[in-house]
Symmetry: C2
Subunit: 274 residues, 2 copies
C-alpha cells in the first residue's frame, strides 16, 4: 500500500476511512508545500507510538529529511522504526522504486518549487481470472489464486489438477496509475502518460481562471481533460480544487466536455485501476 | 485571544468551531510532544496564505524555533508576518507575558520532557456590572460599558450622567485560568494554584491506573480533583484522556467524588471563566 503526499490531518482521514495504515511501507511526496507534507510528523509519530518496526521508505524531492527529522527529534525520542530516504533531484523520467510487480517512475513537473509526478506501472501481464470458470473450483485458496494469475497451474488437495488455461486468459494491458500534482498544463507530458490506465491530474481552477492557473503554476479542469484526451488514458480523475469553489460539479462538467470519462474526486473516495 | 497548544488538525477545529482565528496573537506551548505542536506548521502557513501581517508571539519551551522555521522554509517562502519567539528555560514561577489587563506566569511541570503550566491572571479588579440596573440605560454603547467596568462614570448622548456606582459594584476577586498539562500529580502545585477561578488539569488515566500514570508522568482524574480541592479552585476541567477509554463519564464521576465542581471536557466546548 502506497501513500502519495501527506497533508495535515492525513492520519485522521486514514482512521476515518478505515485504511489499514500499518500496510503503508512507502510514502511518495510530490513536493514540499505544506498541504502535501504537514501530516508527516503526526503520521510518523503515530507509527512510532504503535511500535512500528518495519522500515518505511520516503521518496521525496530533496530537502525534507533534515527539517522533518529535526521536528521529530524535539520530543527527544528515537523512532521505533527506520526511515529509508530516497531523495530526488533529477531531470527527465527516472525509475525511483520497484518491487517484483510494480515500478515507479518520477517525472519533474512545472510548479513553483521542485515537484515530481509519479507513474505506478505494473510490470507483468498477470493472467485475467475467468470468474465463471473459477466458480467451479470453490476450494481454491488465496495462494492458488495468485499462482493462477501468474500463469501457473495448481493441484487441489484431492489431487485434481486445474490447468491454468481453464480458468484464466491473457490480459492485454498492464495497469498503470499516474499522480500529476501540482503542475501547470503541458501537452508534452503526453510522452510519459500515453495509455495510462488512470490519470490523477490536478485541476485547481476552472478554465475561466486559466490566467491565474498559469500565474500560480496550476492547471484548469479543461486542461487536465485535454491532456487525458491526447494521452488516451482510461480514466481521468481531477482534484486539488481551489477553496474558492463551493462545489466541484463545474470541474467535472468542464472536464467531461473534453474527455467524457472524467471524474471530479472527493475526499474518501476509492477507485479501481483496471 | 490566546491559543494554548496546537496539535495536528488545530486549524481544522478552529474552522469547525467558527473561532475568529485572526484574533490569535499569542500561542502558548506547554511542551514539545507531537500532540501539542504538530498543528503549528499548518496553522502558521494558513496565516501566511491569508496574508497575515500582525506579529505573532510564540511562548514555548526552548527547542521549537529551529525545527519549525526549518520546516516552514522547505516551501521556500518567507512568511508574511513576524514571529516573536519567547523561549522558556527557567525553574520556578516566572511572568512570561503581560498586557494591560492580563499577566501570564509559566511554571515548570513534572513531565518526561521540559514542560510548563500557564496561569492567566487578570490584573485589575474590574467593577462587576449590575445587570438589572444597567437595563435602565439601554442606550449605553460598548465603549461606555468598558468605562463603567473600569470604575468610570459615563455621560450619555443626551447629557445625562450615569454615576458608576449606580450600575456597578466592587468585584472581590480577579479571575484566573490555569492550564496544567501534561504532568504528574503534585500537591505542591497548590502554592501556584490556590484560588484559581478555572483550573484545567490533565487526567490521562482513571485512578485504577495510577501506577501507569506515575510511570508515564501523567495524572489520574482523582488526583486532578484532589489538587482542585486543596487549592479551592472555582471549577476543575479535566481532559487529555488516554485513547484506551471509550467514554469520559468515568473521569467526570471519579473527579466529582472528590471535587463536586468538576467537568470532564470534550472537543469544541467553551467555558466562561467567572
Amino acid at each position: 500500500m502506497f501513500l502519495i503526499d501527506c497533508g495535515e490531518g492525513t492520519q485522521d482521514r486514514l482512521k476515518s476511512f478505515d485504511v489499514k495504515w500499518n500496510r503503508i511501507n512507502q510514502i511518495f511526496i510530490s513536493h514540499l508545500h505544506g498541504d502535501h507534507i504537514f501530516g508527516l510528523p503526526g503520521l510518523l509519530s503515530t507509527f512510532h507510538l504503535n511500535h512500528r518496526e518495519r522500515k518505511l521508505q520516503i521518496i521525496t524531492p530533496i530537502g525534507l529529511k533534515e527539517p522533518l527529522q529535526l521536528l521529530l527529534n524535539t520530543a527527544g525520542e528515537k523512532l521505533s522504526f527506520e526511515i529509508e530516504w530516497i531523495e530526488l533531484n533529477h531531470v527527465g523520467a527516472l525509475k525511483v522504486w520497484e518491487n517484483e510487480r510494480i515500478e515507479v517512475v518520477a517525472v519533474p513537473l512545472d510548479h513553483r518549487i521542485s515537484t515530481y509526478g509519479y507513474i505506478f506501472q505494473e510490470k507483468e501481464h498477470p493472467r485475467k481470472i475467468l470468474v465463471d470458470e473459477l466458480s467451479k473450483f470453490p476450494q481454491l485458496n488465496h495462494h492458488q489464486l495468485r499462482s493462477l494469475k501468474k500463469g501457473e497451474s495448481v493441484t487441489l488437495e484431492d489431487g485434481v489438477v486445474v490447468p491454468n488455461e481453464w480458468v484464466t486468459e491473457k490480459q492485454l494491458q498492464t495497469r498503470s496509475y499516474a499522480y500529476w500534482s501540482d503542475t501547470r498544463f503541458h501537452a508534452e507530458y503526453a510522452s510519459f502518460l500515453t495509455g495510462i490506465t488512470v490519470l490523477y491530474h490536478e485541476a485547481t481552477f476552472l478554465h475561466a481562471l486559466q490566467e491565474k492557473a498559469i500565474m500560480t503554476y496550476h492547471s484548469t479542469a479543461k486542461e487536465a481533460a485535454e491532456l487525458a484526451q491526447i494521452c488516451e488514458v482510461g480514466t481521468l480523475l481531477v482534484g486539488h480544487y481551489s477553496s474558492r469553489y463551493a462545489s466541484i460539479l463545474d470541474h467535472e462538467k468542464e472536464a467531461k466536455e473534453v474527455f467524457p470519462n472524467s471524474i471530479a474526486v472527493e475526499e474518501g473516495q476509492s477507485f479501481r485501476i483496471s
